[in-house]
Amino acid sequence: MSRIVAVALCCLASAVHAATIKTTPLSCEGLVHAVAGERTLSSPIRGGTAEIPLAEATPWRITLESGNCWAAPLTAPSGDAVLKVWPKRTISGEFSSAAPSLRAHLGSPDGAADGIPASDETCRVEGKRWTCDAPRAALDIRLDVGGFAPAYFWNVETDDLGPVELHPGASIAGFVTRDDHGALKDAVVDLATEDGVIAHTNANARGFFQFTSVPARMYAIAARRPNGAPTHQRDIRVQAQRETLLRRPLLLAGFAKLRVTMRPAATPAGHPWTVALFRLDLARHAHLPLARSSATAAGIWERGELERETYHFEVVDEAGAIYFERDLEMTSDLAELEVVLSTIPVEGKIRMGNAPLYAAVRFEASDVNVMMVSDADGAFYGSLPHEGKYELRIYLGNERARQLRRSVEVKRESSDGPALVTIDLPSGRVKGVVVDSAGKPRIATVTAARGRSFDIGTAFTGEDGTFEIAGLEPGEITLHAWLKENWSPPHTVQVADDPQPVTIVLNDPRLIRGRVLSSDGGGIAGALISYFDDPLLKKTTTGPDGQFSFPLSSDADSVDLFIVTPGFPVKLSKLRVPGPGESADIVVSSRGGYLSVSIALPPAWPWIAHDGVFAMLPSLFAPRTALGPPPELRGDRFMIQVEPGEYAVCSQRKIDQQCIRRVVAAGGETYVDLRTP
C-alpha cells in the first residue's frame, strides 16, 4: 500500500519558499481531498499534515477545503506530495453590467520567486457584484465572464478591484516583448484590416494589450515604439464572442547603442565636438533630427535606445560646420565608431575684380560643410578636414543677400603649412528689373543658370524691382525670376562688366483644367498630380468628380506630369496644354504591371521615364501617413504599379546609354537591379 501525504505549509505570502512542515509557523484548518475518477478520499489536517492512504498508483487530484488557507489544486502520483498553501483572502469587485458566470484565472506576476501556480477559481456572482477566493499574494488575474471579453488585472495586491468595465463581443489580446528581454516603453499596438488601421492601443508595462468589442473577421496587428520600426502578425482570425489570444508575442527588436569616439577629442578651436544624429526616412528622402549634443572632453559621444534602422550622423564644430557625416545601419546591440577628424588650417583671400570682398564662404564636400567669413580685406581663416575639391557657396555681404557658386581645389603646399585658397571672382555682372504683366516692379528672386548648373548665382530684387548678380564669368547665362509659385520664362543674357539692364516679366500663369478618369469614364477623386512647371515640380489633387486645375507659369505647349492614385497604376504622361476654356481629360488604366527596382544604400534614387516624362522613384510612392519603410518596399525591392508600356530607369534626368529600358506588361512584374554596377 502506498500513501499520499498532503503537507500544508501555512505560510505568509512572503514565505513562499517554505517547503517543509517543520518550518511552518501556522497551521491550516480543514480537509484535504484526493480525487481519482469517481473516488474521493478526504482527511483532516492535523499539525500541518494530512495522511490519506491510497490503494492505487494512479494520478490523484489533491485539493484543499479550508476556511483560512488557499491552495491551487495539485495533480500528483501516489506517494508523498507537497501542497503549497497561502493564507486565504477574498477578492471582489463590481461589473458594469450583470454577469451570468465568472471564472477567475489566477497566476503569479512575472518575477515573483516561487509564486503561486496558475489555477482557475469558480467565483460567486450576484448581479453585478462578484467575489472570488484567492491566496494572499500579488496576483495576475483574468476574469472570464460569459459573453464578455476577459478582464485583466496585473500585479494585484488589494482585495477590492472596484468597478470592472465589461465589453461584449469578441476580443484580441497578446503580448509585445523585446528580443533582448529589456523593458518595454511606450509600445503602441495597431489593429488593422485590409482597409487600414482601425484601432490602436498601448501595451502596458508587462507588454500586454487587448482590443475589445471587435467584429469577427481577419486582422493584422502591428506593434511599434513611437517612430520605431514595427513588427507584424497577419492573418489573425477572430471568432464571434471569443477572445483570440496571440500564441506568439509580437517581438520588437531590442534597442541598439551608438558610441562614437572622435580623434582629436576637440575642435580646432579647442571646444568639444557636437554630434547630430538623424533618422533616415527612405520614403520621404529626408533626415529627421533625433539628437544633437556635445561629446565629452575625451571626444566620446553615446546614444542608446536606438531602433535598428538607418541613421545619418554628423560631427560638427561649435560654429555648426560639418567636419564628418555618414549614413549608418544599426544592426547590432552596439555600434562603435572611431572618427578621425583630420583638420588642416586654411588661409584664404576672396576678391571680385581686383577688390577685396567681404563675404561668407561655405566649403561643401560629400562629407563636409564648413563656413568661413572674410574680413574687410577679403581675408578668411579656418580649417577643413581634408584636402580636395570643394564646392563653394559665396554669400555676398550687402543688403540684398546674393550667393554665388564656385568650386575650388584645397591643397597644402607643405605638410606643416596651411592650405592657401584664393577665390578670384570675375567682374562680370548682369542686372535688370523684374516687373509683373502690368509693368509694376515686383520683389522677386532672380537665379542665374549656365549649362547644367541651374543656380550659379542668386539675387533678390528691391522694392523697385531691380537686381544685380556680380562675380560672373563672361559669356551667356539664363535668368529666371520667381515669386511664390510663379516663374518667369527664361531670359538669355550676356555677362559684361557694364551690362545692359534686362527686364524680366513675371507672366500671369495659365490655368489648366481637366479631369482624371478611370477607363470606364468615371472621375477618380483624390488622385495626386505632380506636374513640371519648368523649372519646378508642383502638385495638385483631383476633386470628388476627378476634376483638377492648376496654374502653369511655363509657356510650353505641353506639361509633363505623373499621377499617383491609391488603387490605380501610376501614370506618367505628357499632357497637351488645352486651349483657353478647354478641359483636358486624362484616363488612367485600370490594370497595371509592377516595375520593381532594387537600389543601393545610401539611397541613390533613380529616375523613371515613360512617354518622355521623368519622375524620381520615391515621388511615385502612394501618399501615406506612417513613418518607416513605404508599402512599396517589399523585401529588397521597391515595387511600383505602373501603366503597361516601355519604361527607362536612369541615374540622371535624361535618356542616355546607361538607362535600363524595360517593358512592363499588364499583370506582370519587371525587375531592375541597380545594386551592382
Binding site: G196, E485, T542, G543, P544, T565, G567, R624
Partner: protein, 134 residues
C-alpha cells in the same frame, strides 16, 4: 517647401490653446477649389496622425472630403478652415462625406484632447497660414 509647410499647418491646428485642452482630430487637409464658375470646394486628406482619432475612424490619406456634417465644404480661405477646426472641443463629432477614388462613404470622427506635443506648434501654424492665405 511651401506645400509641405502648409500641410503641417493644417495638420496640427485641429487644436487651439485654452484653459481646457482643445479638441483634436489628427488629420491634415488642404483646401481646394475647382476653379470653375461653380467653385466646387473640397478638402484633400494629406496627412493623418497614426495615433489620432481620424485614422482610427477610418479616414485615409488621399480621401476627398466634400461635406462636413452634411454641409458642403465652403471655406473661403485656409484661415477659415483653420479657425473651424480650432474651435473644436473634445468630444465633438464631425461626420465627413468622403469620396475615396470612386466610392462615397461617411466617416464620423470624435475629437479628443489636443496632445501636448502639438500644442506648442499651433501658433506658428496659424501665423504661417495667415501670411500665405492671400
Amino acid at each position: 517647401v511651401k506645400k509641405v509647410l502648409l500641410v503641417a499647418a493644417l495638420l496640427l491646428p485641429m487644436s487651439g490653446l485654452a484653459a481646457a485642452k482643445p479638441g483634436w482630430f489628427g488629420l491634415g487637409v488642404t483646401l481646394h477649389d475647382s476653379a470653375t464658375p461653380e467653385h466646387t470646394k473640397w478638402l484633400y486628406v494629406r496627412m493623418l496622425d497614426s495615433d489620432g482619432p481620424a485614422a482610427a475612424a477610418g479616414l485615409h490619406v488621399s480621401d476627398v472630403i466634400t461635406a462636413i456634417n452634411g454641409k458642403p465644404v465652403a471655406f473661403a480661405t485656409n484661415a477659415d478652415l483653420l479657425r473651424y477646426f480650432e474651435a473644436a472641443k473634445p468630444g465633438m463629432k464631425l461626420t465627413f462625406s468622403v469620396v475615396r477614388q470612386q466610392r462615397k462613404l461617411a466617416v464620423t470622427v470624435r475629437a479628443v484632447p489636443l496632445p501636448d506635443k502639438y500644442a506648442q506648434r499651433r501658433a506658428g501654424n496659424r501665423r504661417y497660414v495667415e501670411q500665405h492665405d492671400q
